[in-house]
Amino acid sequence: MKKIYSRIEEIAGNVITVTAEDVRYSELALVTSGHGKSLAEVIRLRGNKVSLQVYSGGRGISTGDEVQFLGRPMQVSFSDNLLGRIFDGSGRPRDKGPTLEENLIEIGGPSVNPSKRIIPRNMIRTGIPMIDLFNTLVESQKLPIFSVSGEPYNELLSRIAMQAEVDLIILGGMGLKYDDFLFFRDTLEKGGAMDRTIFFVHTASDPVVECLMVPDISLAVAEKFALQGKRVLVLLTDMTNFADSLKEIAITMEQVPSNRGYPGDLYSQLAARYEKAVDFEGAGSITTLGVTTMPGDDVTHPVPDNTGYITEGQYYLRGGRIEPFGSLSRLKQMVNDTTRADHRGLMDGMIRLYANYKESVEKKSMGFRMSEWDQKLLRYGAFFEAKMMDLTVNIPLEEALDLGWEILAECFQSDETGLQSKLLDQFWPRKSTRDEQETA
């Protein structure tokens, strides 16, 4: 047992400093104060001065409190006993279940050797046409939902989770509102998915340092399950809260901020988490869906901006719909050539026409004359928004493709669509029976 230190020399924010010997970087310590016990992590060593970040925060810690070093870095228990359980950011139970201490694994482990990665190849079906058809989600992808607060991003996240054919769901909540936490729990329970779900939840009222642990702890567990052959879906909501916690610690540590108060290593910090998404050859995979709320609906804000540079695309949620513009799945081309022959062509064609529709809308709003072509586009746009973009639509990809052709045929002549003749010959809907009767 290591020596106990009972003299804290400095307390600033969530960071305390003690004089101690034989301490290692990133090592954990147990801080015992009048308010209970908390873990703390060594974040700076200088001679015998040791600075630690206290998970439960610096508030209420007194200079006379005890610090005991544990001789090990942060760990989490890993076993099937995690399934169906709810934990906080440092791995303590939030439900009524027992504390788990068997088979401890380290968190924040090394990254996958790039030469061991494989090219992603499996589509994840969600039943949402704006995803399946236009921005296909792929197993092992890392992809955030960009939105302003108030949008139904958690609903979208839980819906994808329920619908996706994965073996395991890990929900990492950061600064999660308690109501949202209950919403996730109830949805998964109702859907019968609780027994294949693990929660690591930091709520808005929990200490900020624990928020920082959530992605690492979630991903460490996900990685172990993936290595056992499980296809794991990790949901991280809201990564902007994670970034804000980083900012808070950086400021306490008097680091020079780079952009709007965020530390210079924000990119690397976010990347270290998102890059955990992987498909292991011969084993399972990790797919990561995040939520990144955009302060002030500003996509150039450092958090969405750095995220966009890291992830493999993004879904823009605005007005309760996934926007066709700005949304991007960078991996879609890896899978949409083998789904159905018309997938790529229809995807590009419909988006092109939707872009034309937007131009017509703009022209109209400026009072310019609407040509016959504009009229057709306006009709098309309305159909597209109601039948494809509406998030309540829930149909398999094949039906969504058929629906796409129907919408086109409803609005245009085939040669107005700009689609390849080969596709039109094969997929353009034949006239309905009623039309045929009329001609007859």
Partner: protein, 593 residues
């Protein structure tokens, strides 16, 4: 001589402060002993008896008092035959071999030989005993892929030496002694086929450096025709996320007309490198008939790998590029993204508590970027042959705004600027290079006057388009409307290019010159068009045929018949020729390039 040692005094992120006993130098490599691991580190500041070191690994577990061994050497790469086709991390560790030893994950403190010591090479001597040599002189060659890999006198040997013994033609391993040299004082030295060179020092064993003028063909029309890159030149691709920087570099790495491509994946996604990694061994290089991998070296230090080795990775890449230039080869270095490298410097500068500049980047950012691009160049070597290193770097500006330190510092030193625009990529206009903002100081493979004429059409057409947004089509004259249609035609038929189309994806310079004539004819002709609908449908027709023309195999029947269709369609409506264009044509004649 005993090596300098030290003990750890402090740890802050990936920076470790060490109490040193003995002499150390800046950029010297040292190893921190943690348990049974040795963690590679580099000295980045010395203050009194303390050295600050950046650790090329995660620092968890390091404790005060841990011992440090200094190597006496600066951070260096190993140079010799066997580099081509390799996949290295930022410190030149071969990643596939690491995987063989450590499995799925990278393992801290595991460092492997960069060059295979077991492989044999067919050595052919080029000199004889008694010859006088100095650093960089070729003593023999070994075949590496399609190249004659020059076995050279190590670059760090100074003065004149005489060859005492030279191995006869035969099969040798890289570490076998193949040569013995002796200096005036009678000191002898054994040479094998490999040596080390410090990455942060430029290799400058050439006679003369030239101004880059010869085009480096990328087979991207917009680049080669409008914003060309010269062999030995430098260029940058800044752009917001998702605008197409990586895709542009990937296609360049495939199609560029150079001997060797060094891909430096610096702090970006691992998944993107995997595509290159897995596809290149399958793709044939049309110039050589061999796989693309045989002309490629990949330096891969992706975003979740240690930040300090990310900083080193661009230097590792450029040093290998310079090494092959010494063999009279044309080398292209593609770095994606230089912003991540700059950020690695920023992180370290912050830990050193240096006075921060704009956006917390260090004050020396500009000079470091400048001296990196300065390592490009076309040179004449001692034996009279020419070699070049061309550098293209992507820049990832915060918020997509080019008014930021890395973009600005880069723009000051490069010879061409391919700025990607969010509007163009949103509209799926690829490559999303902004045609009005981008520039190049290098000569185009197509006559400059003709190119300037086209750019003028683009500029004026854009003005019309801006006007039209205010006054509508109704308020625009037919003449202006036709000008607008011409600029749209230039953009959609020539500048945009489908990277994923087997034919359109890469266009030889010969073909570019050929199809440019037709483009110029369209832009320079006066047409008999009676109203705007007529004009719109005429240009739509032209565009449709030109797009089919672009996807038809070069000189195939389809290609010829599309061309005939275009010529016919132009002739039918042509009433005359714009007088400025006429002047240029008379001066230039039929030579487009």
């Amino acid at each position: 001589m005993t090596k300098t040692t030290g003990t750890v005094f402090g740890v802050n992120g990936n920076m470790v402060t060490v109490d040193v006993e003995g002499d150390v130098s800046l950029n010297e490599v040292g190893y921190i002993n943690v348990g049974d691991q040795k963690l590679k580190s580099e000295v980045i500041r010395i203050r009194g008896k303390q050295a600050e070191m950046q650790v090329f690994e995660q620092t968890g577990g390091i404790g005060v008092g841990d011992t440090v061994e200094f190597s006496g050497e600066m951070l260096a790469v190993e140079l010799g035959p066997g580099l081509l086709g390799q996949v290295y991390d930022g410190l030149q560790n071969p990643l596939p071999q690491l995987a063989e030893q450590a499995g799925f994950f990278l393992k801290r403190g595991l460092y492997l030989d960069a060059i295979d010591k077991e492989r044999s090479w067919e050595f052919t001597p080029k000199l004889e005993a008694g010859a006088t040599v100095s650093a960089g002189d070729t003593i023999g060659t070994v075949p590496e892929g399609i190249f004659d890999h020059r076995i050279m006198v190590p670059f760090n040997i100074s003065g004149e030496w005489t060859i005492k013994k030279l191995a006869p033609k035969g099969s040798y391993k890289v570490a076998d002694t193949i040569c013995q040299i002796e200096d005036e004082k009678g000191t002898t030295q054994d040479l094998n086929m490999i040596f080390e060179w410090p990455v942060k020092r430029a290799i400058s064993l050439f006679e003369e450096r030239y101004k880059p003028t010869e085009p480096m063909v990328t087979k991207v029309r917009m680049i080669d025709t409008f914003f060309p890159v010269a062999r030995g030149g430098t260029y940058c691709i800044p752009g917001p996320f998702g605008a197409g920087k990586t895709v542009l570099q990937q296609i360049t790495s495939r199609h560029a007309e150079v001997d060797i491509v060094i891909v430096a994946a610096c702090g970006e996604r691992a998944g993107e490198v995997v595509e290159t990694l897995q596809e290149f061994p399958e793709l044939t290089d049309p110039r050589t008939g061999r796989t693309l991998m045989e002309r490629t070296v990949i330096i891969c230090n992706t975003s979740s790998m240690p930040v300090a080795s990310r900083e080193a990775s661009v230097y590792t890449a450029v040093t290998i590029a310079e090494y092959y230039r010494q063999m009279g080869l044309n080398v292209l270095l593609l770095a994606d993204s230089t912003s991540r490298w700059a950020q690695a410097m920023r992180e370290m500068s912050g830990r050193l508590e240096e006075i921060p500049g704009e956006e917390a980047f260090p004050a020396y950012l500009e000079s470091v970027i400048a001296s990196f691009y300065e390592r490009a160049g076309v040179v004449r070597l001692k034996d009279g042959s020419f070699g070049s290193v061309t550098i293209g770097g992507t820049v990832s500006p915060a918020g997509g705004n080019f008014e930021e330190p890395v973009t600005q510092a880069t723009l000051k030193v490069v010879g061409a600027f391919h700025g990607l625009s969010r509007e163009r990529s949103d509209a799926r206009k690829y490559p999303a290079i902004h045609p009005l903002e981008s520039w190049s100081k290098y000569p185009s493979a197509i006559n400059d006057e003709l190119v300037a004429y086209c750019r003028d059409i683009l500029l004026r057409g854009n003005e019309v388009s801006q006007m039209m947004k205010v006054v509508g089509e109704e308020g625009t004259s037919l003449e202006d409307f036709v000008l607008y249609q011409k600029s749209e035609f230039l953009d959609s038929a020539y500048m945009q290019q489908n990277s994923f189309d087997p034919v359109d994806g890469s266009v030889t310079i010969e073909r570019q010159r050929h199809i440019f004539r037709i483009l110029f004819d369209v832009l320079a002709s006066e047409f008999d068009l009676h109203d705007k609908d007529n004009a719109r449908s005429y240009f739509n027709q032209l565009r449709q045929i030109y797009l089919d023309y672009n996807t038809s195999e070069w000189e195939s029947d389809a290609f010829k018949s599309r061309e005939a269709e275009l010529v016919k369609l132009i002739d039918e409506k042509r009433t005359g020729y714009d007088s400025t264009a006429e002047d240029i044509r008379n001066r230039v004649g039929s030579t487009v390039g």
